[in-house]
């Protein structure tokens, strides 16, 4: 279970330490020193979750969390608060603000890993290993198989990732750029129109089970997996 994690922590020592732990656990880590930087980064890199230090210079962690939560685009990004030992008020306040979990410093790498795993399981549908069913379509992340009305579908690797992404994010329009970021990866340099071609290939494959209209194109905006007929 590899995830992209945004770490917001002003003390560079602790930041490095946590970053090391997370990296070794197989996660991609993006670091921010301040609330402002965090705001920038979370928008452009769409992390799978945020590790947020309670105490920050300027804007406090809790304020930052509140901002995250008030913006619909970031509403679904899970947040874990890092707090100093035993400050119960902070804990309550943090959870009220919408943090998904909190962890008190100092903590062991194992504990951190466990919390991350738990939160991701709860909040990031893509990362789970559960089967996803939708309109007679069943996608199994484990066996890497897809069936439509019990008919096995032949999908290439990219088509599979694309469908996987759409099925974990239904009823939501994604631009070509967003799809490239989410399905191909941030760093990749690929033409936007390439998305069209893969959408087409995916549609063709889905057609084998009568699901050709599952993915709708939204002119001028992007594509969307529609749950309704």
């Amino acid at each position: 279970m590899a995830a992209t994690i945004l770490l917001v922590e002003d003390e560079s020592g602790i930041q490095e330490l946590i970053k090391l732990n997370l990296t070794q656990a197989g996660h991609a880590v993006i670091c921010a020193d301040s609330a402002e930087q965090a705001l920038m980064l979370i928008r452009q890199s769409l992390p799978d979750m945020v590790l947020l230090d309670w105490m920050l210079p300027g804007m406090s962690g809790i304020e930052l969390a509140r901002i995250f939560r008030s913006d619909a685009r970031m509403k679904n990004v899970p947040i874990i608060m890092l707090t100093a030992r035993g400050d119960e008020r902070d804990k309550v306040l943090g959870l009220e603000t919408g943090a998904d979990d909190y962890i008190t410093k100092p903590f062991s790498p194992r504990e951190l890993s466990a919390r991350i795993k738990a939160v991701l399981r709860r909040r990031a549908p893509q990362m789970t290993e559960d089967r996803i069913a939708l309109r007679g379509l069943v996608l199994d992340p484990v066996s890497h198989r897809v069936t439509g009305h019990d008919i096995a579908l032949e999908l290439g690797p990219t088509e599979f990732r694309l469908l996987h992404f759409f099925m974990t994010h239904p009823e939501r329009v994604y631009s070509r750029t967003q799809l490239l970021d989410q399905v191909w990866g941030d760093h990749v340099f690929v033409e936007e129109r390439t998305v069209d071609v893969h959408i087409r290939r995916l549609r063709l494959a889905l057609g084998a089970s009568g699901h050709e209209d599952l993915i709708a194109t939204v002119r001028g905006a992007g594509y969307r997996l529609s749950v309704h007929d």
Copy 2:
């Protein structure tokens, strides 16, 4: 994120300084020395937000904020209060009055920028991704769907943006120029009459669910989305 900001500050030195900062950050700045001037300017120029000094000659900032809030036309314009250092009472009072945020002088350009960005993100209604419902009409920015009485409406990209804007700014008249700025974009050079045509197309589409009279024409002034029948 470029915005039009109304700055209300009586000390010309500070005013110049802030104006410089904001301009460099890519915002358009309109300055007012007094509450009276501010009232004039906010009506005619429709800023995206207001930076309001707490201490003003004559009418105080907080009174001004109260007036802003009580006027339907300005109700949706976010306000950031500028207060002197550490006056907590002001802070509380300010937030109660309806200020969206406060910032204590002196402050760094970075902090100001961050607060502005945050407030705009929170308050600029078009930016949120919450579903908007109005007279049986439901617009979902996320899925890019519009339904009127559960009937799906077919909208082109521009019609969608136009309706989105109106639904986030109901009961308020917008001139063609303002609509071009808000829906098309500042830089675009398009005939004003083009707005008429798109209004028409939007009305036609809305007619499919019996909402043809949703957008009213205000002769000599512009158009308005009416909430009431």
